[in-house]
Each structure stands twice: as C-alpha cells, then as structure tokens.
C-alpha cells in the first residue's frame, strides 16, 4: 500500500523525466528499483522463492527409513521418488526457458511453477496418508514439474535484476538459501516425524503423510514470495521502463545445434558431477548409520553438512571466482576435491566429517564456477535455452542415476555404489581436463583471469 502511494507520487513528480533517472531520487532507497537497497529486497524474495522447493526436494532423504518402513518399499522403489521428480524436468527444463520467455512471461511463469510445487507436495503427502505409494510418486512428479522450472525462473530473475552487477554473488546467495532449506529439512523432518508420531500415537503411513503435509507449509511461503516478486518486477518495469526479464531474441530449439564443444563439455561436467552428489545425499543417511555407526540424528546432521557448508560458502566462493576469474581451474579443483572425498568415503573408515566437509566445499565452489561459464560460451540470446538445456540433461542424468543407484545399493551394497559415484566424478574430471585443453586450443575466454575479462570488456566498449 505504502509502496504504491510512494510510487505514484514519484511518477507524478518525475513526470516524463523519469527515464533520465534524476527524478527517482525522491523515492526511499528501499522502494527505488534503481537503488541497491531495493535490489537487496528483491534478492531476499528471490532467495525465499526457492526455499520451499529445496526444503521439500530432500524430504525423502530425511525420512528414508520411515518411508521405506511405512510404505514397505525397497531402496530401488524409494529412489523412484527422486527419479519421478526428475523425469518431467528432462522435457520441461528444455522448455522452461522457452515457457518463461514466450508463453507465461517470467512473472506468471514463476507463480504457476510455485503452484505446481505446492500441489505436488500436498499430493505427495496424501499418498502417505492414503498409503498409496503410486500417489506419492505422482506427487513427486507434479512437484518436479514446478521445482526445476522454478529454479530457471529464479535464475532469469537474477540475471534480469543483477546482470553486470553482482551476478555471481547473487547466484551464490540464492544457492545458500536453497541449501539452508535443504539443511533445515534434513535436521527437522526426522524430529517432526517423531513429534507427529507421539501426537497420533503410532508410526505408520498416516504419520508420514501428516509430517509431509506440515513440511508443505514452506512451499506456500515460496508461493507468496513469487506473488510479491511478480508485483515488484512489474513495478520496476513501469518505473525504469526495463524489459520484463527475458532473453529477448527468438528462442529456437534448433539453437541446440549451434552449441559449441565447450558448452557440451560443460553439460557433461554438470551431469556427471551432480549425479554423484544428489543421489548420494538421497541415500546418505543410512550409509552413515550402517558404515560409521552414527545415530539417526548424527547421520541427518552429517548428511546435511554439504548444504550447511554450501550456504555460507557459496557467496564467498562466488565473490572469489568473480574477483579471480580462471573458472576452469576452479572447476578442476572442485571436481578433484569431490573425487577425493568420495574416495575417502568409499575406501577408508576415517571420520566421515572430513570427507563430507570437503564435499561441501567443493560442491559450493563448483556451483559458483561452473554455472557462470555458460554465459561466456553462448550468445546472450541463447542463454535461457542453454541454462534450460543444462538443467534438462542434468535431470535426465539424475533420474537415471537415481534408479541405478537404488538398484546397485539393493544388490551390491554401498562400496559398489561409491565406486559407481567415483566413476561418475572421474568422467566429470575427464571432461574438465578436456575443456581446459579445448579452451586452450581454441584460445577461448573461459579461463581468463578477472583482469583479462575487464580488459576485453574495455576494448569492446572502445
């Protein structure tokens, strides 16, 4: 209300001069879309936008034993909950950017995807209440329709508001918030389940369903953020005459054939890396209980440490990569560290906190160094498609690997599963090395230091 009044006043006072920017000085910094304070407010909303979906994404991991016990399913079937989340995104992420740009627009897109997330989580919970595992799977499917596309929307918002400013930092912060969501989930859901169990008097599928339903509140919160963000974005468009956040040019699926070799390598790095992290975390809790003799609470804590570390470190690493450049080297370090961490988990009985902290650090570093690289190798008008495509094949990888991981675990155990993950990370490492070589050979810009980038930017503007 207050904001609207101020906005109106500013518009009246500024009249036709507002595009010049001078007249906006009358607005308080928090409400002035051209000021940092306002961008921070938007940033906050963007961060909470993803909170719900990230909180609920790892609900199965936090309640692995409960789900397997209450719903009477084996690990392979349990991992289908993750696979079903990923399947719709194989197609949707590919179109996610397209839908946002051409069909819904960023604002409606975000709201629609948030709704899907909410509905999906409710259906997932109902599956528990009605003791129907297929319904749970269907819920995860609906949840998945919203989840990843929402992340694309979140990125597009970030680019639209922060391009050329603090973009890497913003990516980092958004990730932090997502990770806080996951961490809270890991450590809260088990406790929540036991509380609901005490309340209902017994464990069982109903307890599970109610617990998941309560977890769904976070999704409502995210939906509210999507609504407010849509309003603020529209307002900024009116005041600043800024384009609605989109990539602008015509997006064609045939763009894919124009993708360069380095971009494909980035895709491979991304897929092979993330399939060794997310399914591992999905299955991690029981691993720490069985192999290292952790209690259920301690296992939840260590399983979420990757996210805990990621939350504060993502912005730090984001800044670091911004200031130093040399993205490929950072990615190389991150992948090598992840490889080392998986090796430790597989072949030693060393305290797993060491390996998991290393995994957390490398995971945050990778996210900060890898994702911005896409922007260096694709023209701006293909950025949405490229990011969408990247997430699309990442989801294809996650869906397939989730199923494979469940099957390996049921038949061959955790050691073999870890070896499988090591093989994935190793493939990722191979691609990083190849990317470095290709970049060297093509005199690409991927591994420039921050100063080189500045110089190039300068010479271009000249």
């Amino acid at each position: 209300m207050e904001e609207e009044e101020e906005e109106a006043r500013a518009l009246l006072a500024g009249g036709p001069d507002e595009a010049g920017g001078g007249a906006l000085g009358a607005l308080p910094a928090l409400c002035d879309p051209s000021r940092l304070a306002h961008r921070l407010l938007v940033l906050l909303l963007m961060c909470f936008l993803g909170f719900g979906s990230y909180f609920c994404y790892d609900n199965p991991a936090a309640l692995q034993t409960q789900i397997k016990g209450d719903m009477q399913v084996n690990t392979t079937k349990f991992m289908l909950l993750y696979a079903w989340y990923s399947w719709p995104n194989v197609v949707l992420c590919f179109f996610g950017g397209f839908l946002i740009d051409r069909v819904f627009g960023i604002r409606w897109g975000t709201i629609i995807f948030s709704c899907f997330v909410c509905i999906g989580q409710v259906v997932f919970a109902l599956g528990g209440i009605f003791n129907a595992f297929w319904l749970m799977e269907f819920g995860r499917f609906v949840f998945g329709i919203g989840g990843e596309s929402l992340a694309v929307a979140q990125n597009t918002y970030a680019v639209s508001w922060f391009k050329g400013k603090e973009l890497n930092l913003v990516f980092g912060l958004q990730l932090s918030m997502a990770r806080i969501g996951s961490t809270v989930n890991m450590n809260l859901m088990g406790w929540l389940y036991s509380k609901v169990e005490a309340l209902l008097g017994s464990a069982g599928h109903t307890t599970l369903g109610v617990t998941l339903l309560i977890g769904g509140i976070t999704c409502i919160l995210s939906l509210i953020c999507a609504l407010v963000l849509a309003y603020l974005d529209q307002r900024a468009e009116r005041i600043l005459h800024k384009e609605q956040g989109k990539t602008g040019e015509v997006i064609k699926l045939t763009d894919v054939k124009d993708f360069s070799l380095p971009l494909w390598l980035i895709f491979i790095i991304c897929v092979c890396y993330y399939v060794a992290v997310f399914p591992f975390i999905g299955l991690g809790k029981v691993f720490f209980i069985e192999k290292f003799g952790f209690s259920s609470e301690a296992a939840s804590a260590i399983n979420s440490v990757v996210y805990v570390i990621s939350a504060p470190m993502s912005p730090v690493f984001g800044l670091l990569v911004d200031k130093t450049g040399k993205n490929i080297i950072w990615v190389l370090c991150a992948v090598a560290a992840t490889l080392a961490s998986h090796m430790m988990l597989a072949f030693t009985l060393w305290n797993p906190w060491i390996a998991m902290c290393l995994l957390g650090l490398s995971y945050s570093l990778l996210a900060c160094a890898l994702w911005p690289m896409v922007a260096f190798v694709v023209p701006e008008h293909q950025l949405g498609t490229a990011y969408g495509f990247m997430q699309s094949i990442q989801n294809l990888g996650l869906a397939i690997v989730s199923i494979i991981a469940g099957m390996i675990l049921d038949t061959r155990g955790y050691l073999f599963l870890e070896v499988f993950f090591i093989a994935c990370v190793s493939l990722s490492l191979l691609s990083v090395v190849l990317l470095y070589l290709v970049n060297r050979a093509q005199d690409g810009n991927l591994n420039y230091s921050a100063r080189q980038r500045e110089e190039i930017k300068f010479s271009h503007t000249e």
């Binding site: 464990a203 072949f347 009985l349 090591i422 093989a423």
Partner: protein
C-alpha cells in the same frame, strides 16, 4: 580387511593406513591362505549297528598334510566337534556303547592322538523368544520380555541320512520339540543345515561369507513356528569350551567392503586362541525371508562370552563329553535376531542366519576384481588425459611460435 581388530566387545572406528589402502588398490590377487587350497571332503553318517538310527555326521576333509574332522550330532543338543590333525591319515573312532552310556569318556576319539593340533566344540543349547512390543531400545538386554526358552536337547530330529547330499556336501538336521503343549511347532521346524567345501568360494545368497576348504558352514533356519507374541524376537544360545579360566572373545571387525552383504560393514569373529586356531565367523545379519535381500535383513546382536556357572545347568552334549571328558568349563554367548522395528520373524514366519566354522586363519575378504577394475579405469583415464593433453599443448605451442614471425 581393514586390518584392524578390536579385541574387546564394543563398536569403534579404526582407519586403515594409507599404505594398506594402496596395497588394496594395487593387488587384485586374493590373500594367500595358510591352509590347504583344496581338500578331499567326505560326509558319512556313522551308524550304530546295535540300535535305532542316530544322528552322528562325520565330515572328513583330507588335505596333503592335514585332516580336519567335523563331527555334527543331535544326540542331546545339536553340537559340533572340530578337530584338526597334522596328518592326512587320521581317523575318527566311535565306540557307540561307551558314547551312549553315562561314562562317555573315550566314546569318540581321533587317532592317532598325538596328531591333534587343535580341537574345540560348539553346542547349540537353547532357542530364546522375546516379546519386543514395548521396547524401543534395540540394544537393550534382554531385548524384551522373555518367554520360556526352548531347550534344544529336548527336540526330536529327523534322520540325518535322509538329507545327506554328497553333491553339495551338505546335510540338514531338522527338529521340533518332543513336548510341544502350545503346538507352536505344529507346522514349523528348526533346521541346522551343515555344508562342507572342497575349495574356496562364496555362496550365491547373502551374507555370502567367503569359505575355504578348511571351513564348514552352518545355516540355522527357523521356519513356520508360531510365535508366542505378535512381535516376537528369537535368539540362540551357543556354548563353547573355555580355554582355562577365561572365555574366548568375540571380535567385531569393521570393513569398508559390503559388496557381498549390502549395508553390512561388520564381521564378527570368535577365536579360540592365538592364531592359527579355530574360529567362528559370521556377519551380524539375519534374514526374515527366503529371498534374502536388504529389505528382509535383520540386525543380529551377539552378547560377549560369559562363563557358565552352576546357576544354569548346561544340557550336556554326549559327543563333547565323549571327546573331551566330563570335566570342562563352558562359556556361552547369545545371539538375538531382529529388532522391535523394521522387518522381523513375524513377516513370513521365517528366520535364517549363517556362520562359518573353521580351523586356521579366518578367510579375509578382498576387494572384488570388478571394483578394482573400475577404480583402475576411472583413476587412470583422467591421468592419461592430462598427460596426453599436456604433451599436445606443448607441441602445439611450439608450432604456433614457429609460425608467429610470419604473422
């Protein structure tokens, strides 16, 4: 396998050194066995010509320099004698009239006596049942309200000769209580399946313990018996000969390898003395379904060994008395299968657990060739790539600098 042993009961973590890790990665060859690679194994039911058929199974495993004798019997409680001799010619002599008389001493002998290197015995004395409904703590002792135990000395057993299978070198003792007022075993039985091996290998079904020609496998299966409660846990009391005043210890070995028994990272081992002596080895896992998988896996808790005092009169095993004499001090430990939550006997009225009994150095698991192969490829490929890429860049850079002046 991690090369660390914990002499006392309890769980702890220990780490293998980096050197060990390296050697594990580098050597695909299985660890050399101290015992014999292969043995001539024969199974024989020793008949009592004067009376009704009795269950006395003699497993004789002959190697080039040694003979192992496993004598399984269900006279009294099910029991096994294991005797290792340093000659391929040692024999078992049975004096039935002595064995069945109160003065059993000398009823069972392995000859020549001076060839005996090691001997011990296991007696399976009682089957326990607990009500786990009101216990949340899985490690509680006892794991619930105990029902009256079944004494295995008061079971009647099938004729072992009927189930003898020379092809698989196995035989099964199947029994039920002689006196069964609750009709719990009307459709059920407790079975001890004994299997010997002529060479090393690994069964297809979990827990897939690695066996050698020096070992015998025992599978205990409780099938179809009606439990006395809705959530009954079962347990088994196992007695063994003590060494002097002390009881042997059970070691818990932590391993990184669960390839053969998914999600089981532990191996329990009972050693009778300093190596090489006899050993009992088992994974702390039991199964509640015939199809043994992770979803039917139950935890198996073992108590430390305690000396048996006069407080509880152990049912005597005639074969143990006949071989070792009547003055022996016994130690016992209890195994409990399952916990109050998760899968249990109540699912399908089925419970199975296996152990390995042997002489010499216990078999040690090594990483499977498949794991080592995958690791070699996955670590080798990026390394080679770096090397090749580095060379390419070096050469490519040279060529570039050659052309540079023309530009």
């Amino acid at each position: 396998m991690c090369g660390c042993e914990e002499p006392r009961w309890g769980s702890g973590h220990c780490a293998p050194g980096p050197m060990l890790l390296l050697s594990l990665l580098l050597s695909a060859a299985p660890f050399g066995l101290l015992g014999e690679e292969t043995r001539q194994v024969s199974l024989e039911v020793i008949p009592d010509r004067l009376g009704p058929p009795k269950n006395l199974l003699h497993v004789r495993a002959v190697g080039t320099n040694s003979t192992l004798h496993y004598v399984w019997s269900s006279l009294g409680p099910p029991a096994v004698l294991l005797v290792a001799t340093n000659t391929p010619h040692s024999t078992l002599s049975v004096n039935w009239s002595r064995l069945l008389s109160p003065e059993r001493d000398g009823g069972l002998m392995v000859l020549p006596k001076d060839s005996i290197q090691f001997s011990s015995a296991l007696v399976f004395t009682r089957l326990f049942e607990f009500d786990s409904t009101n216990t949340s703590d899985a490690a509680a002792k006892p794991p619930g309200k105990p029902y009256p135990p079944y004494s295995l000395a008061n079971f009647s057993w099938n004729n072992i000769a009927d189930s003898l299978d020379p092809a698989t070198l196995s035989a099964t003792f199947q029994g039920h209580p002689i006196h069964d007022p609750t009709k719990a075993f009307a459709n059920g039985s407790l079975a001890f399946r004994v299997q010997a091996f002529s060479r090393s290998g690994r069964p297809a079904q979990p827990p897939r313990l690695l066996h050698t020609a020096d070992t015998c496998q025992l599978e205990v299966a409780l099938v179809g018996a009606s439990p006395q409660g809705n959530r009954s846990l079962f347990g088994l009391e196992v007695a063994t000969l003590g060494q002097g005043p002390d009881c042997p210890s059970v070691q818990e070995q932590h391993s990184i390898d669960d390839e053969y028994a998914p999600a089981v990272f532990q191996l329990n081992q009972l050693l009778w003395g300093s190596l090489p002596s006899g050993f009992v080895q088992w994974r702390p896992v039991a199964f509640s379904q015939k199809q043994r998988g992770r979803e039917s896996a139950l935890p198996c808790q073992a108590s430390p060994l305690y000396p048996l005092t006069l407080a509880y009169l152990l049912p005597q095993s005639p074969i143990v008395q006949a071989f070792f004499g009547s003055q022996n001090n016994f130690c016992a430990f209890n195994l409990t299968f399952g916990a109050s939550t998760g899968p249990g006997y109540w699912d399908q009225h089925y419970l199975s657990w296996s152990m390995l009994l042997g002489v010499g150095t216990p078999p040690v698991d090594a990483l499977s060739p498949l794991v080592l192969g995958i690791m070699a490829v996955t670590l080798g490929a990026p390394g080679l790539m770096l090397l090749a890429g580095g060379l390419y860049l070096l050469l490519g850079h040279k060529r570039y600098s050659e052309y540079h002046p023309i530009n």
